[in-house]
């Protein structure tokens, strides 16, 4: 896979813009083919630069001389740019490591979206969706979050990228959204508030969000909600029953990671019949006590719900 240092053509794109790069490269192809090939095959080349020059490098003079992974990347981009066969998803899954690694390179080095270009946006979106959903790649989530906020700042569509981000079902990635609550750009803050709409807070701040995430981390599970369903989707929910029992859940299902015995199941059924507010209070207190004093928690959890609530009230005034 190509190295990560910046190629000369990337520098020209930065300095002279897209049209400047295209003009430069066309001239180079005309007067110094070998140099043109050396530059386009630079191991540090970024995908966005390669994509900008896709028409130039498809000519007869360069055909068959492009670095094979770059050639494949352009082929993949071509497949992803328009009507795409549904079977292509399976082909990516079946192809395994090399294709996944190439898609990852395309995504990581293609982030600087070259222009508000629908076709390129669509390609990047589809790569992100494939990497997360088909290749189970969570390592790109920081870059994916960056792309979501970048696109949002310029008024572009973010729905499918946001969907892909949360479909990763990765609770550890939530701080990537939360830290935008401290952004100096109000558009970032508003989007972060929307995407973290499942966190109950009157005026959301980074500290409040992180405190809530860390306090509920083992009990959070993905709901499957998205911006297609709601303006403020509840992407995650806390399993109050699991928090009450202090049993971590699977982020996929919300079910306890360790199967419960019959008595535990019965307790959970009884707990689920309590009012929502009482469930919330007992769950919060249980997890608090569990971490503070495990011995005391073991005594408390064996009491009836009524006694637990009374005890909770005596100890903390939480029910007042």
């Amino acid at each position: 896979m190509p190295a990560s240092s910046l190629g000369l053509l990337d520098n020209i794109r930065y300095s002279n813009g897209i049209q400047g790069l295209i003009n430069y490269y066309r001239e180079l192809l005309r007067c110094d083919l070998q140099k043109a090939l050396d530059l386009i095959n630079d191991p540090g080349l970024r995908f966005c630069t390669l994509y900008v020059l896709k028409s130039e490098v498809s000519g007869s003079e360069t055909r068959g001389k492009l670095e094979p992974s770059y050639s494949t990347a352009l082929e993949l981009a071509g497949k992803l740019s328009g009507e795409v066969s549904p079977r292509f998803e399976k082909e990516v899954r079946a192809a395994g490591g090399n294709t996944a690694a190439l898609l990852e390179w395309m995504f990581r080095t293609g982030l600087e979206e070259i222009e508000p270009d629908s076709e390129y946006e669509l390609i990047m979106e589809r790569i992100a969706c494939l990497l997360v959903k088909s290749c189970n790649n969570r390592s790109i989530l920081p870059e994916l979050a960056e792309l979501i906020f970048f696109r949002h700042r310029r008024g572009a569509l973010i729905h499918e990228l946001a969907w892909a981000f949360f479909e990763a079902r990765c609770v550890e990635s939530l701080p990537l959204i939360a830290y935008r609550l401290d952004s100096p750009d109000i558009r970032d803050v508003r989007l972060a508030i929307k995407l973290l709409g499942f966190i109950p807070a009157d005026s959301m701040t980074y500290d409040k969000a992180m405190s809530w995430i860390s306090g509920n981390r083992p009990f959070l599970y993905y709901t499957g909600e998205s911006l297609h369903l709601d303006g403020r989707p509840q992407h995650y929910r806390v399993s109050l029953a699991a928090k009450y029992m202090c049993l971590p859940v699977s982020p996929d299902t919300g079910e306890p990671a360790v199967p419960l015995r019959d008595t535990g199941q019965e307790l959970l059924v009884s707990f689920s019949k309590l009012s929502d507010s009482l469930q919330q209070k007992l769950a919060d207190f249980s997890w608090y006590l569990y971490r503070q004093d495990n011995y005391e928690w073991n005594r408390w959890i064996r009491l009836s719900f009524k006694e637990q609530a009374e005890r909770l009230n005596q100890m903390t005034g939480w029910l007042s």
Binding site: E89, L130, K133, L157, G224, S226, H228, L229, D230, G231
Partner: protein
């Protein structure tokens, strides 16, 4: 159960307003039979909600018959005499255009529009309010409109998704989720659909269909070797009927 703050609720008298078998009758009778207590300030408020729910059903059928096209946000289109298409695929009401005219245009010239399912749900909600408010009140109430699925909705419309609701009624927007959707066609990740009564739903892009038909449509857009079927979630997305009623009442 229904409770009115300003007096006794008479179920028999309330039901007599509507022909048996009508959408209004069906909604009211299920509210009456429900274990959940539905509180209204007055019979007027209850009538407002029932009428608006009926309007939502009628507007859904109108969209279906008008053959408004399904398009992803990237390819959305609108009548630019009334709307400005944004880069994200949403539509914003043009200046110097009357909101009521712009909403009516969607239903008069549906071929000039194309968008995805949630935005159509919002169009239906606006049309349903317009049909109850009339042009003048609607123009006063909604001077700025953005149509971009559930984003940037007017506060007065108060659209919210409720979870674990005790009952579902005609005019509710339900959501069918497709967890194993092919990631290359994320527009099939789910379908917003208006409950029309009986076993019928209107889902933009799918049409008027039973839940099973909608699920089959979504399932046909899953990854190969998919394990999980699409399913109907326990959510209902609704306008804030009470706020809309109070606005009308205080504007009278």
């Amino acid at each position: 159960m229904i409770k009115l703050a300003d007096g006794e609720f008479d179920p028999k008298k309330a039901l007599e307003q509507y022909p048996e078998g009508s959408i209004e009758y069906d909604i009211l009778s299920r509210m009456i039979k429900s274990d959940h207590l539905y509180n209204y300030s007055s019979q007027d408020e209850l009538d407002f909600e029932i009428t608006m729910r009926k309007n939502i059903v009628d507007s859904s059928i109108a969209v279906y018959r008008g053959r408004l096209a399904f398009r992803t946000f990237r390819e959305s289109k609108c009548n630019e005499d009334y709307w400005v298409r944004r880069p994200d695929g949403g539509f914003v009401l043009k200046r110097d255009v009357k909101p009521a005219d712009a909403i009516n245009d969607i239903f008069r010239n549906p071929r000039k529009y194309g968008t995805e399912c949630a935005t159509v749900m919002v169009m239906i909600f606006y049309k349903s309010v317009l049909d109850i408010y009339g042009d003048k009140l609607f123009n006063n109430a909604f001077s700025e409109i953005t149509l971009m699925n559930w984003q940037e909705l007017d506060d007065l419309m108060g659209v919210a998704t409720q979870r674990k609701v005790p009952d579902y009624f005609e005019g509710d927007c339900r959501y069918f989720r497709n967890p194993d959707v092919n990631p290359l066609t994320p527009e099939w990740q789910g379908e917003n659909a208006i409950f029309l009564g009986g076993r019928k739903y209107f889902g933009h892009g799918i049409g008027i269909a039973t839940p099973l038909m909608i699920i089959e449509s979504l399932n046909s857009n899953r990854i190969e070797d998919a394990e999980a079927s699409a399913y109907l979630m326990d959510t209902a997305t609704r306008p804030d009927f009470r706020s809309l009623y109070l606005y009308q009442k205080h504007s009278a």
